[in-house]
C-alpha cells in the first residue's frame, strides 16, 4: 500500500454564510502529479490556500507523512515541506531572481543575532540560486537583473524554481500556465515534470485539459465545495467523464 505524503481529511471551510469546502478528502503521493479540477468557484483555490497556510481549516485535518500537522500560517506550511506557486506568483519585481528565492528566509550571519539584524550572505545565496536555475534549465537573460525586466514565462519559471529550491515534500501550483503563451507554457510544464521526478508530490490546479492528460497521475474534481469525482490516470478515453464531472452533466 502506497503511503500519501500529504493527506487532507474532511476539510470544511466557511466564509461567513458561504460554505466553500464541504468535507473534502485528498491524497497526494511522492513522484506523482495530482490535478485539481473544477469550475470557477468550485473550491480549488480555497482548498490549496488552506493547505498552504493562507487560510486555516474550520474542520478537518491535514496530515504530512501520516502525522497530523497544524497549518495556520504560510511559514508553518513551508516548514512542513509544502511550497506554493501562487497564481499571482508572489514575486518581488524590484529584486533579482536570487533575492526573490530567499526572500523571507535569507541566508545570513552571525546566527546569534536576531534574524533581522543579521548580515546577508549574498554570495552564498547567489551561488545556490544560480545552481538551481541551472539544474532546472531555466534560461534567464541576466541573472542580476530585476525580475521586473523579465517576461511572463521567465517570471513563472522563477516562481516555480523558488518552490523547487525549498520543496521537500509537496509543491502546489495554482494555474501556472494561465497567462502564458504556447512556448512558455511548455517550459513550465517541463519544470513541473522535473519537480515530480525529483520526488515531490505535485498538486496542479489548471483549466487546461491537455495539460491534465499529459502530466496528471490522478485527477480530482471539485464542484460547489464537494469532491465529485476522482480519476486515476486520466487519458483520452475518460476525458469526457472528467469534463462531465466538472460541469455537472451526467
Amino acid at each position: 500500500m502506497r503511503k500519501p505524503v500529504l493527506e487532507v481529511r474532511g476539510a470544511h471551510k466557511r466564509f461567513g454564510a458561504v460554505h466553500a469546502l464541504k468535507g473534502i478528502d485528498l491524497m497526494a503521493f511522492r513522484g506523482e502529479v495530482l490535478a485539481l479540477l473544477g469550475d470557477n468557484g468550485a473550491g480549488k483555490s480555497t482548498l490549496i490556500k488552506c493547505v498552504s497556510g493562507v487560510h486555516g481549516l474550520d474542520e478537518g485535518d491535514i496530515l504530512i507523512d501520516g502525522e497530523k500537522v497544524l497549518i495556520r500560517t504560510p511559514a508553518a506550511a513551508r516548514s512542513a515541506g509544502i511550497e506554493t506557486v501562487y497564481q499571482d506568483l508572489a514575486l518581488f519585481d524590484n529584486l533579482t531572481p536570487a533575492e526573490n528565492f530567499y526572500c523571507g528566509r535569507e541566508l545570513s550571519f552571525p546566527s546569534w543575532l536576531p534574524r533581522g539584524a543579521r548580515f546577508l550572505a549574498t554570495r552564498q545565496m547567489d551561488g545556490e540560486a544560480a545552481a538551481v536555475i541551472d539544474r532546472l534549465k531555466v534560461k534567464l537573460p541576466r541573472f542580476d537583473a530585476q525580475v521586473a525586466l523579465m517576461s511572463g514565462g521567465q517570471r513563472q519559471a522563477i516562481a516555480v524554481a523558488r518552490a523547487a529550491v525549498f520543496a521537500r515534500k509537496v509543491v502546489i501550483l495554482d494555474e501556472p500556465t494561465a497567462a502564458l503563451g504556447l512556448r512558455e507554457s511548455r517550459k513550465v510544464l517541463n519544470l513541473i515534470a522535473q519537480l515530480r521526478d525529483e520526488g515531490n508530490a505535485v498538486i496542479l490546479i489548471t483549466h487546461n485539459m491537455e495539460h491534465v492528460l499529459e502530466l496528471a497521475d490522478c485527477a480530482v474534481v471539485l464542484r460547489q465545495g464537494y469532491k465529485v469525482g476522482e480519476i486515476e490516470k486520466p487519458n483520452r478515453s475518460n476525458q469526457q467523464d472528467l469534463v462531465a464531472m466538472i460541469v455537472g452533466a451526467e
Binding site: L91, C103, E106, G116, P141, G152, L182
Partner: protein, 358 residues
C-alpha cells in the same frame, strides 16, 4: 514523451517563423539593447543632471564655486539630507511621512527646554532623539495597528499635533536661545575646514545604507515596498518592518534637530517649516520611486544636494523666493514623470524579453 515534446516545440517554432509578424532577430536584440541603455540612463539621470547643473552654475554664477559658498551649501543641506534619509526608508515601503518638519521643531523645543534644566549636552541630545523617535513610533504604530488605509492621514495628524505641542511648550517664544557647546560644535563648527554637520550626514548615511543593503532587515524593507502581500506570504514580519521605518524616520528628525539647533544655537517651534516637502522632493528628485521598493539611499542624498544647490544658486542670482518654489515644483514634476517613463520602458523590456528568448 520527450520525443513528443521535442516535436511540439519544433512545430510551434515553425509556426512562429512561418507567418512571422516579428522583425528579424537581430533588430529585436538591438531594440532591447537600446531600451536597456535608456533604462540605465534614467537610473543614472539624477547624478548626471546634478553634475551638469554644478558645471553650469560654476561658470555662470559668480561666487558659486568658492570654498565659502560650498561650505555654506553643505551647512544648508545637512538637515534636509539627514531627514530625507529617513523619509526615503518610509517611501521605500510605499509610505510617506508628513510629520518630519513638525517633529523636528518639537524636538528642538524640547531640547531647548531641557537645556534650561541641565547643560549636559548628552541629556539634551538624548531628549531630542527620544522625542523625535517617539513621534515616529506613534506614526508607525497607529498606521499599522490602527489599520489605517494610508500613512498620509496619521502623519498629517502628528504634523499638526507636534507643531501645536511645540508652539504650546515654547510659551510664546519663537526662538529659545541657548544650546550646550557640544551641540553648537556639532551643528555649527568645522573640522579640517569642513562643516561638522557634513560628517554627521555621512555617518548617518553610512549607517542607514549598511542596514538597507547588507542586512536582512533592509532586504525586508525592499520586499515590503515591492509587494506587500507577497512579503506577508513569504513570512516577512511586514508590520514590524513598516513601524521600524517610521521610527528611523523619527530618529533622523532628531538628528536633524540637533544639527539645526546647534547651527542656530536655539530651539524654535517654527523650525522645519515645509521640511516634509523638501525631503519628499529630495527623495523623488534623487530618482527613487514613489511606488515603493525602488532606489538606493544615494538617491536621497543626490536629491538633497540638488535642492540645496538650486536654492543657493537662485539666491546668489537674487531670484525671487517665489520663483524658487516654482522651480522646485517643476523639477518634482519632471522627476515623477521620469519615474513613469521608467516603468513604461521596463514593461516594454518585458515584452522584448518574451520576443527574443529562444
Amino acid at each position: 514523451m520527450a520525443a513528443e515534446v521535442q516535436m511540439e516545440e519544433g512545430q510551434v517554432d515553425a509556426k512562429f517563423r512561418g507567418g512571422s509578424p516579428y522583425a528579424p532577430k537581430g533588430a529585436e536584440k538591438e531594440h532591447a539593447a537600446g531600451l536597456s541603455v535608456a533604462l540605465k540612463f534614467l537610473s543614472a539621470g539624477p547624478v548626471i543632471i546634478l553634475i551638469v547643473l554644478l558645471v553650469i552654475l560654476t561658470f555662470s554664477v559668480p561666487n558659486f564655486f568658492t570654498p565659502r559658498n560650498i561650505s555654506n551649501i553643505l551647512a544648508q543641506i545637512a538637515v534636509i539630507a539627514v531627514v530625507a534619509l529617513g523619509q526615503h526608508l518610509v517611501i521605500l515601503t510605499r509610505g510617506i511621512d508628513l510629520s518630519v518638519g513638525a517633529n523636528l521643531a518639537l524636538a528642538t523645543v524640547l531640547g531647548a527646554l531641557m537645556f534650561r534644566v541641565t547643560d549636559n549636552a548628552f541629556v539634551v541630545m538624548g531628549t531630542m532623539l527620544l522625542a523625535a523617535a517617539a513621534v515616529g513610533a506613534v506614526n508607525g504604530l497607529v498606521y499599522v495597528y490602527g489599520r489605517l488605509p494610508h500613512p498620509f492621514i496619521i502623519t498629517l495628524a502628528t504634523l499638526s499635533i507636534a507643531r501645536g505641542l511645540a508652539l504650546e511648550l515654547s510659551i510664546g517664544h519663537t526662538t529659545m536661545r541657548g544650546m550646550p557647546d557640544t551641540i553648537t560644535a556639532i551643528g555649527g563648527g568645522t573640522s579640517f575646514a569642513v562643516q561638522n554637520s557634513f560628517f554627521v550626514v555621512l555617518a548617518v548615511a553610512a549607517l542607514v545604507s549598511v542596514m538597507a543593503r547588507y542586512m536582512v532587515w533592509g532586504r525586508w524593507i525592499y520586499a515590503v515596498g515591492g509587494q506587500p502581500d507577497a512579503a506577508r506570504r513569504m513570512g516577512i514580519p511586514v508590520n514590524q518592518v513598516i513601524v521600524s521605518t517610521y521610527l528611523i524616520s523619527g530618529l533622523c528628525c532628531g538628528v536633524g534637530a540637533i544639527l539645526l539647533s546647534g547651527r542656530t544655537e536655539a530651539g524654535s517651534p517654527l523650525y522645519g517649516n515645509l521640511l516634509e516637502l523638501d525631503t519628499i522632493a529630495a527623495v523623488i528628485i534623487g530618482g527613487a520611486s514613489f511606488l515603493g521598493g525602488r532606489g538606493h539611499l544615494g538617491h536621497a542624498l543626490v536629491g538633497a544636494v540638488m535642492i540645496g544647490v538650486i536654492r543657493n544658486a537662485l539666491n546668489l542670482l537674487n531670484v525671487n523666493l517665489y520663483f524658487q518654489l516654482i522651480a522646485i515644483g517643476v523639477i518634482i514634476v519632471m522627476a515623477v514623470e521620469s519615474d513613469v517613463l521608467r516603468n513604461h520602458l521596463e514593461s516594454r523590456m518585458r515584452v522584448k524579453q518574451a520576443g527574443t528568448q529562444g
